[in-house]
């Protein structure tokens, strides 16, 4: 419903390294000629690896450029406009100004302390890249830096994913995938974490702590990591895989990561105070207990004595921990879980309690089709990969398995979290593909050699034939292997094509510029959003306050440069509910509310002329719900007829006369939108509207864009009493 749609696509670029040349030594006749050119096998492998990685890197970068090339170098979505605006501020005013920035242009009249309420990672990264390029005397534009940071990090993510895969499987993991997504540090962290456990090295643990810090600074999703890692450690503890490496890695990472994360003002003391972070802390203490027990065990030679000691210690530790948690919760020192967190664990929670979370389309449970759409054959390879992982169980594979399973669950709960699951799914599938292909190629190779020698000499030795007959115990094995290989490569290439297509079609159409095919096949561009925002920017007083639904808040401040009442940072539910209430009230009531909020202009998005379906009328029920959640005056059934939402003649009377309806359909009744239909035919909903004679008393039309997508109304000043 909220027009947010991130590019949560799972993309991979399977490029398979051909197996190292197996026939070189079998072809002595070519040998002298190639001798000068021939590299050592290791060098060949390195060359192939590097080339493949470079190609994958490029591909991952290029695949994200669809929208830039098709449209222009600009920020296309709703939310990133905030990042863009803050990055701009950062580069213009410097870091300290940025950190202390109080933004009076949003959440009027409350304002927002930007520095204290954001994850600065992305902005700082973009600004850093910008400064570096500037220093190197490349006169780049900050906007282009912001646009290209995402593809750049997508490429980096691919590399990281490769090394991650290499670390957990072996150096033979031959399939890497480009998995473009915006919030990249995921894997950075994961790798650091993994490597740390593998090597038990302090340096890597330190690295992972910094990775974690970067992650925290960039995205609120770090909560997933801070819960996943303890979970992983817990599983290792339970399965008896506790080791010194684990202790060093986890403790270093937790303590340092926590201290670093506290430097982000938005996170602050959450690490020790909020319910979401308690698991990590609990496991940290558990680790200490384990270590202590280990030490005691080392000192005590008597097993029985140790058993008793163990029992006492564990009971004490658990009860103390539980008590501390209970006291903390009860005294309010430890805050309970937030709504978002609850809605992850219980998908129905948000619907009943927090409509504002449920209203965002990204927060809806994922449909099966979108799994198919995004993952394609990965859906089948994923279980296969899990099989291979279990077959070769180690600390590393346990981690990837847990990462994969948990993130897959979350991806099922919320659409946007598909992008969290993607790296894991990709990696596990890569393991499957790698293992399969490796097995198949060994089969093909041994067979081909036998046949080669056999045919070249004509007289097969007894030994060879014996070996051959042994292999032939499975009939058509070689042919089967070849067929399977070909099949695998066909699937992979299909997958690559599919991913490119998905990126191009589904994830590269900007929401700020809409494009359609004209009657003659030419491209028609609906640039109405920018038309309206630019009009606001140019032709309204600089201190004008604009009321709109929160989806457009960031864009209005960034592009229109005007103050908004609410925006996409939905931190104040009451404020949003007030706007929702204004939109769903009668005009005179709404006027009172708008007057109290000092609103000068009201902006609505309307798709009735063009058939643009994610407009405010279609979002309207959420406004009612959110408004009604705080102000019980607003009742959802008032806007429905027999539980049905309609805008035509059969619509509820309150619906036909609420502010949103009036603003959207003002003078729409006079317009013929489609040939052969009556005037006032709403193309987005396919009905003739019910109230064609809309009169506005307290507002006047100030601007309507050329395709009517954005309509702006001016709130009239209060009329004179005499």
């Amino acid at each position: 419903m909220g027009g947010k749609h991130e590019s949560a696509n799972g993309l991979k670029a399977p490029i398979s390294t051909p197996t190292p040349p197996a026939h070189v030594s079998l072809r002595p006749d070519f040998f002298p000629n190639l001798k000068s050119l021939k590299l050592k096998t290791k060098q060949q492998e390195l060359l192939l690896r590097v080339t493949t990685l470079c190609l994958v890197y490029l591909l991952a970068f290029i695949i994200r450029l669809f929208s830039v090339l098709r449209y222009e170098s600009m920020i296309h979505e709703f939310d990133p406009y905030f990042n863009y605006r803050t990055t701009l501020f950062l580069t213009r005013h410097g870091f300290y100004e940025f950190w202390n920035w109080f933004d009076s242009e949003s959440w009027y009249p409350l304002g927002r302390i930007i520095g204290g309420t954001l994850y600065p990672g992305l902005m700082v990264t973009a600004a850093f890249l910008y400064w570096v390029l500037r220093f190197l005397r490349f006169a780049v534009n900050i906007k282009d830096v912001c646009v290209l940071t995402a593809p750049f990090f997508a490429s980096n993510t691919t590399l990281v994913a490769y090394f991650f895969g290499k670390e957990i499987w072996d150096s033979g993991c031959r399939h890497r995938r480009g998995r473009p997504h915006r919030h990249l540090p995921w894997v950075h962290l994961a790798v650091g974490r993994r490597v740390a456990v593998n090597t038990g090295s302090l340096a890597w643990a330190l690295g992972s702590a910094f990775g974690y810090f970067y992650m925290v600074s960039a995205w609120g999703g770090y909560v997933f990591i801070i819960n996943l890692v303890p979970l992983y450690v817990l599983v290792l503890l339970i399965t008896g895989r506790y080791s010194m490496r684990l202790y060093v890695a986890y403790c270093t990472m937790y303590v340092l990561g926590m201290l670093l994360a506290m430097q982000i003002r938005f996170v602050g003391f959450q690490h020790v105070q909020s319910g979401e972070h308690m698991a990590a802390m609990g496991v940290f203490f558990l680790m200490q207990v384990f270590y202590f027990l280990d030490w005691v065990k080392h000192l005590l030679s008597d097993t029985k004595l140790f058993q008793d000691f163990l029992r006492i210690t564990v009971t004490c530790a658990v009860s103390v921990g539980g008590l501390a948690l209970g006291v903390g919760m009860a005294s309010g020192f430890i805050s309970p879980w937030t709504g978002r967190f609850y809605s992850l664990l219980d998908p129905t929670y948000a619907k009943d309690h927090i409509p504002i979370i449920a209203s965002v389309s990204e927060h809806q449970p994922t449909a099966w089709s979108s799994f198919m759409f995004d993952y394609h054959i990965l859906l089948f390879l994923f279980p296969a990969g899990l099989y291979f992982c279990f077959k070769r169980l180690s600390d590393a594979t346990i981690f990837i398995v847990m990462y994969g399973l948990t993130s897959l669950y979350f991806a099922g709960v919320m659409v946007r979290l598909i992008l969290v699951a993607t790296p894991a799914v990709c990696l596990i599938s890569a393991i499957a593909v790698s293992a399969t292909v490796k097995n198949l190629t060994t089969l093909v190779r041994t067979k081909s050699k036998v046949i080669h020698t056999g045919s070249s000499k004509g007289t097969a030795s007894a030994k060879t034939s014996a070996k051959a007959s042994l292999d032939q115990s499975l009939p058509f094995q070689r042919n089967g292997a070849i067929a399977l290989l070909v099949g695998a490569f066909y699937l992979l290439s299909r997958y690559a094509t599919h991913c490119t297509w998905v990126t191009s079609e589904a994830y590269s159409s900007p929401s700020i510029v809409l494009a359609a095919r004209g009657a003659h096949g030419g491209r028609v561009i609906f640039d109405d959003y920018r038309e309206a925002y630019f009009w606001l920017r140019q032709n309204t007083p600089p201190d004008a306050k604009v009321m709109s639904w929160w989806d457009y808040g960031y864009q209005i401040t960034a592009m229109g440069n005007r103050t908004v009442i609410v925006d996409n940072n939905t931190w104040n539910n009451t404020h949003i509910a007030t706007v929702g209430r204004a939109m769903s009230s009668y005009e005179d009531e709404a006027y009172e509310i708008m007057h109290s909020l000092d609103v000068d202009y009201v902006l609505v998005v309307f798709g009735g002329v063009t058939g643009y379906s994610s407009d405010d009328i279609n979002k309207f029920l959420w406004m009612v719900r959110i408004g009604g959640g705080v102000f019980p005056v607003i009742k959802e059934p008032d806007y429905l007829v027999n539980g049905e939402f309609r805008v035509d003649k059969g619509a509820a009377p309150k619906m036909l006369n609420c502010l949103m309806y009036k603003l959207c359909y003002y003078r729409f009744g006079e317009l013929t939108t489609e040939y052969g239909k009556p005037p006032g035919y709403d193309r987005a909903r396919g009905v003739e509207i019910g109230n064609k004679d809309v009169k506005l008393e307290y507002l006047e039309e100030a601007f309507t864009t050329s395709n009517w997508i954005v309509r702006i109304y001016k709130v009239k000043p209060p009329s004179n009493r005499w």
Binding site: A139, K457, T459, E701, F703
Partner: protein, 618 residues
């Protein structure tokens, strides 16, 4: 309005009281044409000046009331030699502001210096052209979307001059025949869209008779509050021009909102005073044209081009109503050879000053309140000088662009009140060394070179801190072992080649029976094998002794042993075949004798191959 009228009356009384400074000149015939068809007021006057006094006169004074003079954008006086049809070449005359004594304070006086003095009794014809911006006053000042735009224009029916005017006439051209009202004096008539005043005869100096015309003018009142033109010269072959416009509709302000449905239904009636497109006439061969603003590309523009010009039609994001503002940037590249020339060892840029958006074609008038022209010269330009045909404010700046170290010199020219008449060419002279062109590519090459060198150095230096740690030493040893194994492998591979040669020699033997050649090959092979064995010895010794090679050693050992066996077998086979040939025994016999060797050899060869592969993978 009222105050201004009062001011005029006051002013006229002063004018009559004051004594003119030089009354020797008489304007014998004066013809004034005021063009009000756009929002720039253009006044073209033809004066016939006669010297009635005894002294030689070398300057003619023009007086313009202050309220007009502050809007004066352009003033050009010219005279021509000869009379009647046989006009000589037009000479433009220098004009400057003077402050003669006794002139009323409400007047601004301009003095035209004549090229040669006017003798007694002589006469001269002068053409004076003046353009005024912001001289049309919208009235009413606020209109709705559906209203037409009405404007007021004020001037004097009589030519305001310090001289006596013998005969004069005035014609005012309006954009349309629709006139609300105009001041009616004697001899006034309105013909279609033209109002004629006069002829009036024998008027004393400083005669003033205010007239007001109130008429419809729906021409776009496009005013650029600020226009920054950035001309950047690149000696790599292009002149890049970026123009940043800050545009406003300077006519009557829009009130009562904007209704899209009315506008899209009948844009010419329900939006008569608005305009939605502008046409810029760019020089020919303009390329890489773009049109954008702060928030991105604007998709509503189109471009045509022929050999004489390039025409760019742009539409602002929204239709422009009175008082509405917009801003945008257009940019284009031009071929260097069309605009950059060389003379006397200096280069000079010769390019037009004003903005390319043209009123004639589109009926859009464009006035720049403040025009900032920046010429960005290449880095390393010296001895910069500018020549502009009119007065401008000038200064220099430094701009940093791609790969600049000291920055590029920028010449900034500022001019207020610019009308299309200012669209003249100006020149920027500078010196530039061609070698400086190579500076940036060389810098890039050097940068990449340094980068690669750094990579190479990194790869070849040993960065580890503790050179004596166990793991470090182990790594060193392992590297050494690997290198040795590689050497061993290459020797074995060479041995295999020798085997193949032997095989080939046998093959030849079976074809041509040349035993001697075969023996020679064998001899050579023997020598080679020995040599290889010698080479192998130290390597194997090292591998055996090295603890790092412990797990490789058995394989290598096996490989060498197998190879040795192969050598023996091969030799045996070879000698037996040769023997057979020497004894001239039958082919079958040879086969029988060799068969066992052959089988063994094949098997050995296979094993060796396998081993090679195994070792390779370690």
């Amino acid at each position: 309005m009222g105050s201004r009228f009062a001011f005029f009356f006051l002013f006229s009384s002063i004018a009559i009281l004051s004594t003119p400074a030089s009354s020797d000149l008489i304007i014998s015939k004066l013809d004034r044409r005021i063009d009000l068809t756009s929002h720039i007021v253009r006044v073209a006057s033809t004066l016939k000046v006669e010297n009635a006094g005894p002294a030689v006169v070398s300057e003619v004074l023009l007086t313009i009331p202050n309220y007009q003079a502050k809007n004066l954008a352009y003033l050009l006086a010219s005279s021509y030699e000869g009379k009647g049809k046989t006009k000589g070449p037009t000479i433009s005359l220098p004009v400057e502001v003077v402050h003669p004594k006794g002139m009323p304070l409400d007047l601004t006086t301009y003095s035209i210096s004549l090229s040669k003095g006017l003798e007694k009794g002589e006469s001269l014809t002068l053409d004076v052209f003046a353009a005024f911006s912001h001289s049309l006053q919208p009235f009413p000042e606020e209109i709705t979307q559906a209203d037409i735009q009405l404007v007021l224009f004020q001037d004097s029916a009589f030519y305001l001059s310090p001289y006596q005017v013998t005969a004069q006439s005035l014609s005012v051209r309006l954009p349309s025949a629709r006139v609300e009202s105009y001041t009616k004096l004697q001899n006034t008539k309105l013909v279609e869209s033209e109002i004629k005043y006069g002829p009036y005869e024998n008027l004393p100096p400083f005669s003033y008779n205010s007239i007001v015309v109130h008429f419809e003018n729906n021409r776009p009142f496009a005013v650029a509050h600020e226009l920054v033109r950035e001309i950047e010269i690149s000696h790599w072959g292009s002149v890049q021009i970026n123009e940043h416009y800050n545009l406003i509709h300077g006519g009557a302000r829009n009130k009562g909102g904007f209704s899209r449905i009315e506008y899209q239904g009948r844009p010419n009636i329900r939006g008569a005073s608005s305009f939605r497109r502008l046409v810029a006439r760019l020089p020919p061969r303009a390329h890489s044209v773009y049109y954008r603003d702060e928030i991105g590309n604007i998709s509503t523009s189109s471009l045509w081009g022929d050999s004489r010009q390039t025409e760019l039609e742009i539409e602002p994001r929204f239709p422009m109503f009175g008082g509405w503002k917009t801003s945008f940037t257009i940019g284009y590249g031009l071929p260097l050879q069309d605009f950059l020339f060389e003379s006397e060892g200096k280069r000079f840029l010769n390019i037009s000053f004003g903005c390319p958006i043209d009123e004639v074609v589109v009926d859009n008038l464009f006035v720049k309140a403040s025009n900032l022209t920046q010429v960005v010269l290449p880095e390393g330009s010296k001895e910069i000088s500018v020549s502009v045909p009119f007065s401008t404010k000038q200064w220099q700046e430094i701009k940093h662009s791609h790969l600049d170290i000291v920055g590029r010199p920028v010449v900034v020219l500022q001019k207020t009140k610019v009308v299309p008449e200012h669209n003249l060419h100006f020149q920027v002279y500078y010196k530039f060394n061609n070698l400086a062109l190579l500076q940036e590519p060389l810098m890039l090459i050097f940068g990449f070179f340094i980068f690669f060198v750094a990579c190479i150095v990194y790869m070849h230096t040993d960065m580890s801190i503790s050179k004596s740690s166990a793991s470090y030493l182990a790594k060193l040893q392992w590297d050494e072992v690997q290198a040795t194994v590689q050497q061993v492998l290459s020797i074995i591979n060479r041995c295999l080649t020798v085997h193949d040669k032997l095989e080939a020699s046998l093959h030849d033997l079976s074809r041509n029976g040349d035993v001697q050649a075969c023996k020679a090959v064998r001899k050579a092979a023997d020598a080679l094998f020995k040599e290889y064995a010698k080479e192998l010895k130290p390597l194997l010794g090292f591998l055996q002794s090295s603890p790092q090679a412990a797990h490789v050693w058995p394989k290598v050992d096996e490989l060498v042993a197998k190879e040795k066996e192969m050598q023996e077998r091969s030799m045996l086979k070879h000698s037996s075949v040769v023997e057979c040939y020497e004894k001239k025994s039958g082919g079958r016999d040879v086969e029988n004798r060799v068969a066992s060797h052959q089988a063994k050899l094949t098997a050995l060869r296979h094993e060796v191959d396998d081993l090679l592969e195994v070792i390779d993978e370690i």
